[in-house]
């Protein structure tokens, strides 16, 4: 079935550099540096990436960082908790705007 998202496109990511190689080079160097071990371990960074992938709802990123998390030694329970963190923040972000709703409603109401 035709779909906008094709799994075989993920390994072609670097082709994005064909039209703007200097920008792509800078981006991929930065990307590699970000995910290298630093104050956070590679495993922790992969878990953050997995959570963000769910936030931006990118199927490529979810595929890539599910594998990365497993390969860095995380387990399904940890990965599920990371997705719940996303859900809590996303849900909380909606809910906290309820205060704005309440402020407006209270201003308009008797």
């Amino acid at each position: 079935m035709e779909t906008y998202y094709k799994p075989e496109d993920l390994p072609k990511f670097e082709e994005i550099g064909k039209e703007a190689p200097e920008l792509a080079k800078k981006f991929f160097e930065y990307y590699a540096a970000v995910f290298a071990e630093g104050e956070l371990t590679e495993r922790e960074k992969a878990l953050i990436a997995l959570a963000v992938a769910h936030t931006v709802q990118c199927p490529y990123c979810i595929d890539a960082y599910t594998q990365a998390c497993l390969e860095k030694g995380s387990n399904l329970a940890e990965m599920t908790e990371a997705v719940h963190v996303v859900t809590a923040i996303r849900g909380g972000a909606s809910l906290v705007h309820g205060i704005q709703m309440r402020n407006i409603a209270q201003k308009l109401s008797m």
């Binding site: 371990t41 590679e42 495993r43 594998q67 497993l70 390969e71 030694g73 387990n75 399904l76 329970a77």
Partner: protein, 329 residues
Amino acid sequence: MFASRLSSESIDENKDAAIHVLPFNATLAQHNLKLVRANTHTLQINLGFLCNQVCRHCHLNAGPGRKENMDAKTVDAVIAYAARSDFETIDITGGAPELNWHLPRLIEDISPHAARIMLRSNLSAMQDKLPDLVDLLRHHRVTIVASFPSVNNAQTDSQRGEGIFQESVAVLKQLNKIGYGSQESDLVLNLVSNPTGAYLPPTQEQAEKRFHQILESKWGVVFNNLYNFANVPLGRFRDWLINSNNLEQYLSKLSSNFNACAVEGVMCRSLVSVAWDGYLYDCDFNLARGLFMGGSKIHVSEMDGPPNQGNLIATADHCYTCTAGSGFT
């Protein structure tokens, strides 16, 4: 010694016609490499395929129903081979070697012929045997290499069977009590971790740090070193890869992570593996695949010493496992 009758290239064919992975030897050739023996300092002894566990990643299809176990005559032949070969290390494996009742005699009689004895254990098979084995293991300073795939209960049990994680932790605690795994002791307890699926393991250094931290804080367990091995696409694991439609993706992952620098350090260059029936293989994975040492069927009783340096090593697509990334030895 014995010249290889078959080149490893002629053995190297992928039997799964639908899988498009370059033959291992073709990849070696692209890098101007050949897989040949260096100094063979380790004799690995596979006591048989009998095991109390039915692990889903087992490359040997080991399990409770397997009848292939080394008999007394072959044990004698292996001890005699060690006596005339001057190996540095004896590496005892299975199946579950504890289930072969010749194990104590093998350790006792082969110890004078090598500086270091290693016993690979799935831990749960050791549970009932430990009271009898303790003195022997301690006396001969046997290094225990224990399977411990993950610090996560669910991951471990999904790979090795229900309840295995807790049993393994209990045996590790017993081994710690004897003195195994402590930095102050010379009784070495190493752990081996395998991914619980069709993906590569983390870097050894990072995983070891995490295993130390979690095992000590959660379970009060200490150990010396952690070794990470990728799962080898053979036996029960290959069946699982096929049934779960992961084989092609997994082989591609292994082959695309080929690291020419890892070839020099692969274990088959320095190890010879003797099977339960006394025949020799370049490694335990070739044993699982039925690829005899250098392509020739040779019994341990025919050998007058370690295999010669420069002998060709039999290869197939599973060899990509040991050359992926930083390599697994």
